[in-house]
C-alpha cells in the first residue's frame, strides 16, 4: 500500500516556514520562466495575426522587410497586370501599392523612437479588415492627413486628433485614430502613399500588397512574379512575411528567458534539496516506524518524491498566478528587425501554462530525488534507534 497523500500534505503543513520559503523560491523561477515565454508568445501573436494568409506581399529580392525594400512604379504595374488580385466591392482589384518610411518621434516617457509611417493605397484598409477607425476618420487621398495607430497615440507626445504631426518638412493633420486589435498596424501611422512619397522625395514604393483571388494558387503566382526576369521581386504570403519580422526578437527573448530560468532554477532546486534533506533527517525515526509497519522501500521513495513534487507544483502555481497578472501589461519597444516601435502584450497561452507546470514539477523532482533515495535506503533498526 502506498503512503497516503494526506501524510505528505500534513508534513508540508507542519513545516510551514520551510514549505513556504522553498515554494516561493521555485515560484520566482517559474515567474521568470513564464513571463519570458509569455513575452515572446505575445510578440509572435502580435506579428502573426498582423498578416492574413490570403494576402500577398511583394518586395524587392534580398530585402528583409518593407523598410529596406523598393518597388519601382513600372514593376508594380507588371505585377498588377498579372490579374491575380481578388475583386473588391466596386469591382476594382483588391491591391495596394504601399510605401513604408521610418520617422523619429518623441515618446511621452521621454526619449525618441522610430515610428513606421505607411503610405497607403485605396485598398490598403480593405486588405486589412482588422483595422478599425475608433475616432475620427481615415485620411483623405490627396490631402496631408494621417490616421495614427492607437498604440502610437498612447505612447508618443503630441499625437492627438485634430493636432498636427511633422513628417520631414511637411505638416500632416491627424484626422483619426485606428485600432488594429493589437496587431502591428496599431503601431503605425497611415497616410496617402502619394503624399508620403512627395514629402519624403521617394520615387519608389516599398511593397505591393494584394488579396489572392484563389489562395490555393499562391505557388503559381509566386513563380510568375519571381520567375519574371524583368522583376527583381519576391512574393510572400502576408502572414509569413510578418511572422518573419518577429523571429529575431522572439528568439532573443526566448534565449534570454530560458537561460535565466535554467540558471535560476539551479538555486531553487538546491533550496528544495535542502528542505527535503532536512525533512528526511528530521523524520528518521518516523521513517523507521513506517518501515516497521510494513511500508516498503519503494513506498518511502515514492512518498518523499510525491512530497517534493507537491512542493514544486505549489511553487509553479504561485509563480504562474503572479505571471498571469502581467497579461494586463503592454510592452512597447523597437523591434530589432524592422527597426520601428512595436507594442505587444504578455500572452498567457496553454503552452506556457503546461511548460511552466512541467518545469516546476521537474524542479521539485530534481530537488527531492536524492533525499527520497536516502530515506528509502535507511536501515530500519538504526532509524528507529535515532529517536
Amino acid at each position: 500500500m502506498a503512503l497516503p497523500l494526506a501524510y505528505n500534505l500534513r508534513n508540508l503543513w507542519t513545516r510551514k516556514v520551510a514549505t513556504v520559503l522553498t515554494a516561493s523560491g521555485m515560484a520566482l523561477v517559474v515567474f521568470v520562466f513564464a513571463s519570458s515565454s509569455m513575452l515572446s508568445e505575445g510578440l509572435k501573436k502580435t506579428l502573426v495575426e498582423t498578416g492574413s494568409p490570403d494576402n500577398v506581399v511583394v518586395v524587392r529580392k534580398g530585402a528583409t522587410s518593407e523598410v529596406d525594400s523598393s518597388v519601382e512604379r513600372w514593376q508594380a504595374h507588371v505585377v498588377e497586370a498579372l490579374g491575380q488580385a481578388a475583386p473588391s466591392d466596386d469591382g476594382s482589384p483588391l491591391s495596394a501599392r504601399e510605401v513604408l518610411v521610418l520617422v523619429t518621434l518623441p515618446r511621452v516617457s521621454g526619449g525618441v523612437s522610430n515610428v513606421a509611417v505607411r503610405g497607403i493605397g485605396r485598398h490598403s484598409a480593405g486588405l486589412r479588415p482588422q483595422v478599425r477607425i475608433v475616432q475620427g476618420r481615415m485620411p483623405r487621398f490627396g490631402a496631408r492627413e494621417v490616421a495614427v495607430g492607437s498604440s502610437i497615440a498612447r505612447r508618443f507626445a503630441g499625437i492627438v486628433p485634430g493636432g498636427t504631426v511633422r513628417l520631414a518638412l511637411d505638416e500632416y493633420r491627424i484626422v483619426g485614430i485606428m485600432d488594429a486589435s493589437g496587431t502591428a498596424f496599431s503601431s503605425e501611422v497611415w497616410a496617402d502613399a502619394d503624399q508620403i512619397m512627395q514629402t519624403f522625395r521617394r520615387p519608389v514604393y516599398s511593397s505591393l500588397v494584394f488579396r489572392l483571388s484563389r489562395p490555393e494558387r499562391f505557388k503559381e503566382v509566386q513563380a510568375a512574379i519571381e520567375g519574371d526576369p524583368r522583376l527583381t521581386l519576391k512574393a510572400e504570403p502576408e502572414s509569413s512575411y510578418w511572422r518573419k519580422q518577429s523571429e529575431l526578437m522572439a528568439m532573443f527573448l526566448e534565449i534570454l528567458g530560458m537561460s535565466l530560468a535554467l540558471l535560476f532554477s539551479i538555486g531553487a532546486v538546491i533550496g528544495g534539496m535542502v528542505t527535503m534533506h532536512a525533512a528526511v533527517a528530521g523524520r528518521t525515526s518516523e521513517i523507521g516506524t513506517l518501515r516497521a509497519l510494513g511500508f516498503g522501500r519503494r513506498h518511502i521513495l515514492l512518498g518523499f518524491i510525491a512530497e517534493a513534487l507537491i512542493l514544486g507544483l505549489a511553487g509553479g502555481l504561485a509563480g504562474l498566478a503572479l505571471a498571469s497578472l502581467l497579461q494586463f501589461v503592454t510592452v512597447s519597444t523597437v523591434n530589432f528587425q524592422t527597426f520601428s516601435e512595436l507594442a505587444f502584450s504578455f500572452e498567457l497561452g496553454a503552452r506556457t501554462v503546461a511548460e511552466s507546470l512541467l518545469f516546476s514539477l521537474a524542479m521539485g523532482f530534481a530537488g527531492g530525488f536524492m533525499p527520497a533515495l536516502k530515506a528509502s535506503r535507511m536501515n530500519i533498526v538504526e532509524a528507529l534507534r535515532t529517536a
Binding site: 521568470v32 534580398g62 526619449g111 523612437s113 522610430n114 518638412l169 535565466l260 538555486g267 535542502v274
Partner: protein, 385 residues
C-alpha cells in the same frame, strides 16, 4: 573567539546542507553578475563615445540619407576640426544569423577621427591603398576565422548584389569598451558601384561624424551645423555622439527594464533559499541555544552566532560565484557577440555582489534570531526536533 569557533563548527555540522546553500548563493551571484554585465553591455557604446565628436544625420530619421556635398559645407563651420562620413551597409555574411555591423566609411578621415581603433601601420597603409579592402575588429575576425588577404563576400540588403572585400587589417580597441566586432570598408567603393547600378542612391551618406576643436563648444557647433542646413531639402540633426548612441538605447528601454527587474528577482531567490536554510538550522538547534542561554550567554551572542553562520554561508557563496563569473563571461562573449559586442565584468559589479551577499546574509538571520530570542528557555528545552 569562542563565538567564531562555534560559527565555523555550526556551519560545518551539516556539510551537505551548507555546501548546497553555498552552491545556491554562488549560482545566484553568478546570475546577478551576468545580468549586470548584460546591462553594462547595453550601455557600453555610451561609455565608448567621445565628447569631442558629433554625429549629423537626416532630421527625418536615420533611414534617410544626406548628400555628400554637405561635407565641404560642414568643414567651413566655425569650430569644426574634422569631418568624416559613412553609411550603414547592412550586408549579410553567408546567413542572417551571422549578424555584425558593417559600414562604408571615408577611411582616412574615419581612422583619424577614431584613434581608439588601433591598427598596425602597415595594415593601415594596405587598407588605405586597396579600394576593395576592409578592416574588421579582432573579435569579428576570430569569430569567422578570417586571415589577412581573405576575400569576404557580403550580400547587400539595402544595396542589392554581392559585394567582395579583401581583409587588409585587424583593429583592436584602445580600451575594452570599444566594439571589436565592426567591419569598415571604403565608401568610395560603394559609391562607384552605385553610380553604375543605382544612380539615385549614389553620392549620399547615412551620417557625418564631426570632430570639434573644443569639446566645450560642441553644442554650439551642432547648432550652427543644423542652422546651416535649415529649410534645405535634407535638414540635419546634429547631436553629440553620446546622445546619438543613447537615442538608440532608449528605443529598447523596455527590455532593459525587464532585465533590471529580473536581476532583483534573482536576489529574492537567494534570500529565500538562504533564509530557509537558516530557519531550518536554527529550528533544529533551538534546544542547544536554550542550553547556551541557561549557561549565561547573552541573547546578543546567540544572535551573533546565527548571523555569523548566515554571513559565512553567503560570503562563501559570493566568493565562488564571482570566481565562476569570469570564465562564464569569457564563454558568453563568444556566444553573444552578435548581440553584445562588449561584455565584461567591472569593479562596480563585484562590489555590488559583495553588498548583495551581505544583505542576503543579514536578511536571512532575522527570522531565526527573532524566534530564538523570543522563545522562553523552558519551552525551548522541552521542544524536540
Amino acid at each position: 573567539m569562542i563565538l567564531l569557533k562555534m560559527i565555523v563548527r555550526n556551519a560545518l555540522r551539516r556539510p551537505l546542507r551548507t555546501a548546497l546553500t553555498v552552491a545556491a548563493v554562488a549560482v545566484a551571484i553568478l546570475a546577478f553578475t551576468l545580468l549586470r554585465a548584460l546591462l553594462a553591455a547595453w550601455y557600453s557604446a555610451v561609455d565608448a563615445s567621445s565628447a569631442s565628436r558629433l554625429v549629423a544625420r537626416n532630421a527625418v530619421s536615420i533611414m534617410f540619407p544626406l548628400p555628400i556635398s554637405y561635407a565641404d559645407r560642414m568643414r567651413h563651420v566655425e569650430g569644426v576640426a574634422r569631418v568624416s562620413y559613412g553609411s550603414w551597409f547592412g550586408g549579410i555574411y553567408v546567413s542572417e544569423k551571422n549578424f555584425f555591423a558593417n559600414f562604408a566609411v571615408d577611411a582616412q578621415s574615419y581612422l583619424d577621427l577614431y584613434p581608439e581603433l588601433v591598427l598596425p601601420a602597415k595594415e593601415k597603409a594596405d587598407f588605405l591603398r586597396d579600394r576593395r579592402g576592409f578592416v574588421a575588429g579582432r573579435k569579428l575576425v576570430e569569430r569567422f576565422g578570417w586571415h589577412i588577404g581573405d576575400i569576404v563576400t557580403l550580400k547587400g540588403t539595402l544595396y542589392p548584389g554581392e559585394w567582395d572585400f579583401v581583409l587588409r587589417g585587424v583593429y583592436e580597441g584602445k580600451t575594452r569598451t570599444v566594439d571589436e566586432t565592426q567591419f569598415f570598408f571604403h565608401w568610395q567603393y560603394l559609391n562607384e558601384r552605385l553610380k553604375d547600378s543605382f544612380p539615385s542612391m549614389a553620392d549620399t551618406v547615412g551620417f557625418f561624424m564631426i570632430g570639434v576643436k573644443d569639446p566645450q563648444s560642441a553644442a554650439a557647433v551642432a547648432r550652427s551645423i543644423d542652422s546651416a542646413f535649415k529649410n534645405s531639402r535634407a535638414e540635419t540633426l546634429t547631436e553629440s555622439e553620446r546622445a546619438f548612441v543613447l537615442s538608440f538605447i532608449s528605443m529598447s528601454e523596455a527590455i532593459v527594464k525587464i532585465v533590471k527587474v529580473v536581476s532583483l528577482v534573482v536576489i529574492a531567490i537567494i534570500m529565500v533559499v538562504v533564509a530557509n536554510t537558516m530557519a531550518m538550522t536554527t529550528r533544529e538547534r533551538t534546544g542547544e541555544y536554550a542550553v547556551l542561554k541557561t549557561l549565561g550567554f547573552s541573547w546578543l551572542s546567540i544572535v551573533m552566532v546565527i548571523a555569523g553562520e548566515s554571513w559565512f554561508i553567503s560570503a562563501a557563496g559570493c566568493l565562488t560565484g564571482v570566481i565562476a563569473a569570469f570564465p562564464a563571461v569569457g564563454f558568453l562573449t563568444t556566444k553573444l557577440s552578435a548581440y553584445f559586442p562588449v561584455f565584461f565584468i567591472d569593479a562596480e559589479t563585484v562590489a555590488l555582489d559583495v553588498v548583495v551577499a551581505f544583505l542576503v546574509g543579514t536578511v536571512s538571520m532575522v527570522i531565526p534570531s527573532w524566534q530564538t530570542c523570543c522563545i522562553r528557555v523552558a519551552d525551548a528545552l522541552k521542544k524536540v526536533g
